[in-house]
């Protein structure tokens, strides 16, 4: 394993425990997703992997090197895309990408070629040689290129797709995959559960500093076998009436309501949702198989499950 995190706990001086007994590992060639709400402890975990935050207890090995004892080796092993855009004021995107490639030890000629390849693949040509204020999405893409121009054996990407248009987002996921296929271990931090489902090989959901679920997307969804997800978008300023008995737990996020329904109640669910639409309570609805988002919602969003938080590890 390229990344081995064992029983990692971080308690800051103010008493806040940001990570609580976290254990996970990532292999070469693997894209590992780290999902969790704001304040779950993802950034602290990344800081410890990069060697910039010291763990209270536990250990992190990157390519068999102890990060705590040798943070300089961690910086060499990891290339990193922060959540904010990289500070490239005064530089063209091409200069910024090449400079970081050389700082990461790349040969200047090879770095130039690789930078051009990334610029072409992400269709950044029109900004590549201009010193201008970049839009949020373009700046994020340039920051991503800076992280992968000379990728470390471990690549840490913190919310890489924020503010990026759908077309380039797709291109970016392809590049993330190819970085892993070339032998790096990719740690992908994201809020975007649906996208993560398509890109990651394995993932962990963390909440309140603890891993509450981990495994492959398919294995994690298998706990919902035989269950469907009914998604209802309510009309503005309407309330959902009491749900029939066959509807399992429901979660409301704004106008969106997610409800668990067993397969045998498919027709009942269709009838109920149709009646809601006819009564102008529901604007639209859909029924489909459970997704990773359902796992996420069950583990993190639903108050009952948050209260009973227990680790669920799926092989």
């Amino acid at each position: 394993m390229l990344v081995e995190i064992a029983h990692l706990t971080k308690t800051y001086r103010n008493g806040v425990t940001a990570n609580d007994d976290i254990s996970l590992s990532i292999d070469a060639g693997e894209v590992f997703g780290l999902l969790g709400p704001n304040g779950a402890g993802k950034t602290t975990l990344v800081g410890q992997v990069l060697g910039s935050v010291v763990p209270t207890s536990g250990s992190i090995l990157l390519a068999d090197q102890d990060v705590l004892r040798n943070p300089a080796a961690a910086r060499k092993t990891c290339s990193y895309q922060p959540q904010s855009s990289a500070p490239i004021d005064g530089m063209t995107p091409r200069e910024a990408i090449q400079l970081i490639g050389e700082i990461r030890g790349g040969d200047p000629t090879a770095v130039r070629a690789r930078a051009q390849e990334l610029i072409d693949q992400l269709e950044l040509g029109e900004w590549a040689t201009k010193v201008v204020e970049l839009s949020g999405g373009v700046a994020r893409l340039v920051t991503f290129c800076m992280a992968v121009v000379v990728p470390g054996r471990v690549v840490v990407l913190d919310e890489p797709t924020n503010d990026i248009d759908p077309l380039r987002r797709k291109l970016l996921w392809q590049l993330v995959r190819s970085v892993a296929d070339d032998g790096s271990a990719v740690l992908l931090v994201t809020h975007n559960v649906l996208e993560a489902e398509r890109c990651v090989d394995r993932l962990a959901i963390i909440d309140h500093g603890r891993v509450v679920a981990s495994g492959t997307p398919a294995a994690m969804k298998s706990q919902f076998q035989g269950e469907l997800r009914l998604e209802i978008t309510l009309e503005p300023d309407t309330q959902l009436p009491a749900a029939p008995e066959f509807v399992g737990s429901t979660t409301r996020q704004g106008r969106r309501v997610l409800a668990d329904v067993e397969l045998r109640h498919l027709q009942d669910a269709m009838r109920w949702a149709t009646s809601l639409r006819e009564a102008h309570i529901a604007e639209e609805f859909s029924i489909g198989p459970a997704t990773l988002e359902d796992v996420y919602v069950r583990q993190v969003v639903e108050p009952n499950h948050v209260a009973e938080r227990e680790e669920v590890t799926v092989p």
Binding site: V53, V54, A72, S84
Partner: protein
């Protein structure tokens, strides 16, 4: 060592990229400032004699280089912390002190032409002789490093606003209460005692001696005191740069 030099070179390039649009402005201001100081000196002291002119002109580099570090250190660290550059570079495989060293190298290149110009033009205008020795190189480095080490140390340890205020406060103290532009005998006794321990007087002595071959008597003592303070400043800066939450 090769890797450290490589990092240094690339970070100086980064610094250049950031500043290149303002380079012409910086250079112009340096030249105008140099000419202005010399021109203004004649108004300040109308019948200035060559020895006084030499004393004042060769005191200016100490003040300029020292205050530069105290002012720009906290400013640059604060700006980097706010823009995320500090955290970004902290995650790159470069030695911890490579960034401050690269900034220092870049700014020295920016400051030295103007500083040298003040001295040369003053010597021509007020008719005093310069006797520049090789010791001017370590002197300039020691003075600038000391100021920058304290400036960066403040920037690393304190919140941005506090670091900037304390940097400015120290600059004013140095400007008004340090025996750089006047002899130490003019200060009250307790300040004289303090300045026999602090490095500022010795920095000025070294600078004058390396530029004119006079105005100082105990050069080994001056080198010793300045080197010791510089080493302490760098050690404190190093410690601050390595501290992690």
């Amino acid at each position: 060592m090769t890797e450290a030099l490589r990092s240094f070179r690339l970070l100086v390039r980064w610094q250049y990229f950031q500043m290149r649009r303002e380079l012409w402005l910086l250079t112009s201001i340096q030249v105008l400032l140099a000419l202005g100081i010399v021109y203004g000196l004649a108004f300040l002291i109308p019948d200035i004699d060559p020895r006084t002119a030499a004393f004042l002109a060769t005191g200016a580099p100490t003040i300029t280089l020292l205050i530069f570090g105290l002012q720009s250190g906290p400013q640059e660290v604060s700006r980097d912390k706010l823009s995320g550059r500090h955290a970004y570079i902290s995650a790159l495989p470069v030695p911890r002190l490579a960034l401050p060293a690269a900034r220092l190298g870049f700014w020295l290149l920016m400051l030295i032409p103007g500083t040298a110009l003040v001295i040369v033009v003053s010597a021509l205008r007020f008719d005093f002789a310069l006797d520049v020795s090789w010791e001017v190189v370590p002197t300039v480095l020691l003075v600038t490093l000391s100021g920058c080490a304290v400036g960066y140390g403040l920037g690393e340890v304190l919140r941005p606003e506090a670091a900037a205020q304390i940097g400015s406060f120290l600059s004013v103290l140095i400007l008004l209460f340090s025996p750089v532009n006047f002899p130490i005998e003019r200060l009250p006794e307790f300040l004289q005692a303090i300045h026999l321990v602090l490095p500022i007087k010795y920095m000025a002595d070294l600078m004058r001696w390396s530029l004119t071959g006079s105005f100082a008597d105990n050069i080994p003592l001056a080198f010793g005191v300045v080197t010791l303070w510089c080493a302490l400043g760098i050690a404190a800066c190093w410690r601050a740069a390595l501290s992690r939450p």
